[in-house]
Point group: C2
Chain length 328, copies 2
């Protein structure tokens, strides 16, 4: 394993120190337990909190700031944060209008966020993100939360900033999740520092369709094909799921898993744009880059969100975080 | 080779189409020859043009926009752009106050930008970036231009936006180059699509100190050591070069080469911050992330720029590009 680390045990804590210093105009770091929170909290606003295993950066710590999250709770690499992280983060950022947890659908995350929600005095609600259509709808543990999470956090973050109350933020979050579908493909595995070797292996001519963001095996291991064929496959699964009408406004998100260069991600965006343009969709907004990563995994995912005017307006609203910044 | 491509020959053109669509609010794409240029050009302003081989994204196309570049000329992967690209880009964005070319010091880039400058009617000047201290000062082809280029383009871009004339932009650019030193390290090679295999090989326990951004071999191939030891080595070379006084204000840039996760880059930032903080420097500004990449190479570089008040003010000035955005 080749990584920039002193030890797997110290990686996250030292990295969080660096992150907080690099973005000291926007965020603060709490230690013991770890959470990143907004430098200027706002009274009277619903507080948005997310979190999950580390290794997906900039998700979620890079989304803390005006117009998006109030706090992010990082677990160890690919490991759920503990309930005390979410509880203390909630107590730190609660502005008196309740707390909305945005949780990716993984058993450990769901359980620990639920425990925090139970311990928390005061109103709170949870939006569960499960946008990964590579698993069937009736999968026993449900579908995983993947790159669509960024879009949920941006849109609901703007709503909270605009004064939506807790119930309205929860309703909106569920609506965005319903309108969003994602699917990814891996060209290589990632390597978790504490493990020291790749999570899975692929032959030189193989790819993993429907891979999860922790390197979970996906829908099938197939032969490496052209970028056009890969996009056709991913997009078709998403298209079949959302079944949008011609003329539908959408947001198209091409997410890199960390190890794939931007020159390839923009190629993927062009091919996906052509796929949906041919089907009459109006690609009104987009996001291309590494936002929900899997450490050093080479690969990418497509996410499509069906937009209504409310979601479009909230997407465009100002945001000032380490990883997303516009209008401010 | 595992990449998202249809063919190495079509990768760049299709990717540029995707890039231009994804950032249509900021840039436009000219084809035949390829260049990316600002959507809203400004009369009366010095026009800044950069370029070079592709594969370093977001450099340079991601830096086109208000407060930074007026145009970027992408060559094929790791291949110099041709003089007609720079010439036509200059004619497209010249606002009547002359053209400043910002050129990384590579023989092909220097030659082709020089030819464009000769063919161009009207005033122009060139800033040569050669911030890589891994090569000795008296190296026969000079030192390479690496991640410091981003800082030159940001600071001079703000100056041009603020109304500096051509001579003042050139003087400022040379000053930033003089005040800037960088050094990088690779954990792995990158793979150029047209080549199909890694540019160089490293054993599982080896790293390349002083690597170039095209995978050029560096100062030495050494054993993999801890992140702290790597930072100590890189930072010491930079420190010895710039020899800053205690109390000096600096900008510290940790640049990822593409294949290294943010969690590691923030760890590197923390360690570099500690190195220079111990030496009494005032780390007033920073930039951490993948800005001057080498396709899928795992690795990173450190860049330090000694700031004066003018450079600090220009760094903080508004910028609105695909990859750097603040204050707008």
């Amino acid at each position: 394993m080749k990584k920039f680390i002193d030890s797997p045990a110290s990686l996250l804590d030292t990295s969080l120190q660096g992150f907080a210093k690099a973005h000291a105009d926007i965020v603060q770091l709490n230690t013991q337990p770890n959470f990143i929170y907004r430098k200027q909290s706002r009274q009277g606003k619903v507080a948005l909190i997310s979190g999950g295993g580390s290794g997906h950066e900039p998700l979620h710590s890079g989304f803390v700031g005006v117009g998006m999250l109030d706090a992010a709770c990082p677990g160890q690499i690919f490991t759920s944060p503990t309930p005390d992280q979410m509880l203390m983060a909630a107590q730190a950022v609660d502005g008196g209008s309740g707390v909305l947890f945005i949780v990716k659908n993984y058993a450990g995350d769901v359980m620990n966020f639920e425990m925090a929600a139970e311990m928390l005095e005061g109103p709170n609600a949870t939006v569960l993100v499960n946008d990964d259509v590579s698993l069937p709808k009736d999968h026993p543990i449900g579908r995983r939360g993947v790159a669509g999470t960024t879009l949920v956090e941006k849109i609901v973050g703007a709503a909270a900033e605009a004064g939506y109350d807790l119930a309205a933020c929860k309703t909106l979050g569920d609506k965005v999740v319903q309108a969003t579908a994602s699917m990814g493909v891996a060209l290589t595995s990632c390597t978790v520092p504490a493990l020291g070797h790749p999570t899975f292996t692929l032959a030189d001519d193989e790819i993993e369709m429907g891979v999860g963001i922790h390197g979970e095996r996906g829908r099938e291991t197939t032969k490496l094909v052209s970028a056009s064929e890969i996009v056709e496959q991913l997009a078709t699964h998403i298209q079949d799921e959302l079944n949008p009408q011609s003329g539908q406004k959408v947001l198209l998100h091409v997410n890199g898993f960390g190890g794939t260069p931007l020159v390839e991600l923009h190629l993927i965006y062009e091919l996906a744009w052509q796929y949906w343009q041919k089907r009459g969709l109006l690609i009104e907004r987009c996001l291309v880059g590494n936002f929900t990563t899997s450490l050093d995994m080479a690969g990418c995912s497509l996410t499509l969100t069906l937009l209504d005017e409310e979601m479009l307006r909230l997407w465009d609203a100002p945001v000032n975080t380490a990883a997303l910044r516009w209008g401010i």
